[in-house]
């Protein structure tokens, strides 16, 4: 009944807004929107397709996109055909994705050319479901000119980075214009997905793991050390406002030349090097530093994909469009704006390297990138991620309010571990109660039998 209502309402909307439009979602972050518009125009010109394509912009925070998709897809909405999805979404929404095998064919050469981590994400149960637009790995951006000015080399460890940033911050603040507005490092610590990424990056560089052998391991010594390092960064070399900063807030501060270091995604490279910014050509980039001499350089894996909703009425056209938009040529074109290609061969392409001399660093970072535990948490990933960013945000906030030394990091992390373990167990959770609805249904025409077991496979096969 509820579904009918939703369908009725969306049907009205669609009739009102021309049924033939192909709708595609896009994050309006950086210049993604502009690139998508150009890509679509090219596609129309090259294929002579008559479909009108309508772009729907998404919220900045990826967990808000996730929430939006959750609402659309579970309502069976057919007003969106192509969805732009984060790495971690593709697995979580696999039930709603249209298998693309019957619409497009994938070159064997192309297939081998994808990074393995990317290919893992493109296929679900051996069906092709997603095409990578670009891949992403968190990098550390820094001010080359400032490091040179104070006689430093690229830091290899977080400890070196902190000492360096502290010194530069203290010196730069002597300039009255910078008095309270210059920071050693600006990082995303707002309670949202990116804080989870940052936490995982820190933990990985200190040699810890969020999930180890099927259990949460966030209370290990390495994790405690990693969080203490975050607290140190926040209290000594950063602004307290980072607790409410997302990627774009950080980019704003960094671009105005008010920070030495900033972890962020590669899209920043091209934007921050734009001649209109205060830091053009003064930026360096490197993988995230290691946590001490025994730690490893790290990077958190990201990346966005195009998928087709199984409710789409334009499956063939949609599949054709996304294959075009994610082709090697398009990825090559995107790469000049700093979007990292998902094809390995492009990292040897002179055109790509000309625009991105740092791509060798990116290739290296992608090589030892750490993935977020979405495979472990699956459909409960957003809950797990939200527990992580909530706990870390709380720890960081407390460290400001109570003085950094008094926060009991270990206690908080043990609590987080318990929560994560509970979420891990939820996956196998069977139904708790006696089917009141099933009973109701059996009275009003028992069509619901075996729906539980068949639902999933029916959805995957996408009929």
């Amino acid at each position: 009944m509820g579904k009918w209502l939703v369908c009725l309402i969306s049907a009205c909307c669609i009739v009102g807004a021309k049924a033939d439009n192909l709708r595609i979602t896009c994050r309006a972050k950086g210049i993604e929107l502009k690139l998508l518009k150009e890509g679509i125009d090219e596609w129309i010109k090259n294929t002579g397709n008559q479909h009108r394509v309508e772009i729907i912009t998404l919220p900045h925070a990826s967990n808000e996109c996730y929430a939006l998709y959750r609402q659309w897809l579970s309502a069976g909405s057919f007003d969106v055909d192509i969805l732009q999805m984060d790495t971690v979404f593709v697995g979580a929404f696999s039930d709603y994705l249209l298998p693309l095998d019957s619409y497009v064919s994938l070159d064997d050469d192309d297939k081998d050319d994808y990074f393995d981590v990317v290919e893992d994400c493109m296929f679900h149960d051996d069906h092709l479901v997603a095409f990578p637009i670009y891949t992403d790995v968190e990098l550390m951006f820094y001010r080359k000119d400032l490091l040179q000015k104070y006689g430093y080399d690229e830091p290899e460890t977080w400890q070196e980075l902190c000492a360096m940033a502290k010194h530069i911050q203290d010196e730069e603040r002597k300039n009255p214009a910078n008095r309270n507005r210059f920071f050693g490092i600006i990082f995303q610590a707002k309670a949202f997905e990116m804080l989870t990424c940052n936490f995982i990056g820190f933990v990985d560089s200190f040699g810890g793991k969020v999930i180890d052998d099927g259990h949460a391991d966030v209370d290990s010594d390495q994790c405690v050390e990693a969080v203490q390092c975050m607290i140190k960064c926040l209290n000594e070399i950063s602004s307290r406002s980072v607790l409410n900063y997302s990627e774009e807030d950080c980019r704003g501060i960094f671009q105005r030349g008010n920070a030495v270091f900033m972890p962020n995604w590669p899209y920043v490279w091209a934007l921050a090097n734009d001649p209109s910014t205060d830091v053009a050509n003064k930026i360096g980039v490197m993988p995230l530093p290691a946590g001490g001499k025994d730690g490893k350089r790290s990077g958190v894996l990201g990346g966005w994909y195009f998928v087709v909703s199984k409710y789409s009425k334009h499956a063939r056209v949609a599949a054709d469009l996304i294959q075009y938009l994610t082709s090697k040529e398009q990825q090559k074109k995107r790469s000049q704006y700093g979007y990292a290609p998902a094809f390995k061969s492009l990292y040897k392409d002179p055109f790509v390297l000309k625009h991105n001399e740092y791509f060798s660093i990116l290739y290296e970072a992608l090589d030892h990138a750490v993935a977020r535990p979405s495979n472990e948490f699956r459909e409960n990933y957003s809950r797990a991620s939200s527990e992580i960013f909530n706990s870390i945000n709380t720890i960081l906030a407390e460290s400001i309010e109570q003085g950094s030394t008094e926060v009991n990091v270990k206690k908080r992390l043990v609590r987080l571990k318990k929560k994560l373990d509970r979420i891990l167990k939820m996956r196998g959770k069977s139904k708790k109660g006696g089917g009141f609805l099933a009973w109701l249904k059996s009275i009003f025409g028992g069509s619901s039998e075996d729906k539980n077991s068949d639902n999933r496979s029916a959805l995957v096969n996408g009929d």
Partner: protein, 306 residues
Amino acid sequence: MFSIDNLRIRKQKVSAASFPHWEFLAPCLFILAVCAGWPLLRTIFFSFTDATLSNLSDASFIGLDNFVDLARDQEWWQAVFNTFVIALVSVPLETFLGLIIALILHKNFRGRSWMRAIVLIPWTIPTIVSARMWAWMLNDAYGIINDLLLRMSIIDEPIPWIASNSLSIVSIILVDVWKTTPYMALLLLAGLQAVPQDCFEAADVDGIPMRRQLTTIVLPLLKPTIIVAMIFRALDAFRIFDLVYILSSGNSANATMSVFARRHLVDYADVGFGSAAATTLLFFVAFLGVLYAIFYHAKIKKIGLD
């Protein structure tokens, strides 16, 4: 809005024609039932099930489990606490400031009607827009408020208004007060206009100073209006969402009840548990509604006895 004269007239009319005109009410009732009644009932229904967003139709009935879990959830009680803090601080503040503004606007001065319109502006801006606006102004790196305070040497370093957990509640309350004081002023002004003018004239003739007029005439006559207006505002304050969503870091330490419900409903796709939270929130608000009904009733009775 709640003028005494009006009430008296309405009461007579109602008793004269007590026949409810269902045929006139029907379209309105139908729309209410579809837009408000049905979703409401569905939410209450889901709160007794283990529904998730991806499997709404297969949900099974689990009795009161969700409510038991809710009662055990620390974060929920934190959210309840935050909601009460916001409501209990902001509503009296808004009433106080609203009363002052209403008293000023009640006086005769040039451009009074313009002033009345202008005062309403904060209330007419959509909350999400004004919240975003304030978030920019309160930002510590590029916000104008910190910049002004710094330039005036009132503070030495920028204050993280919306980043720290304890301060963001203060910011939320301040912005809420900024936004809804005009609404309170409007309600109270309507009440003031219903206070019979001859009381003031008599007081003026007797040479009673303004301050005493305020405490002996205005406040007692305005009391029913104030109480009703406060309950109205409290109903609103209990479901505060947009301000909190924009002005806090998203941490559950400063979530309110509706933010908590949304997180579970949408982010975690746990429709059952989220609905239980939403239903409980509804009961908090309904409780206030009952309070309102009692006061309203008492007021009518009192007037009837006069």
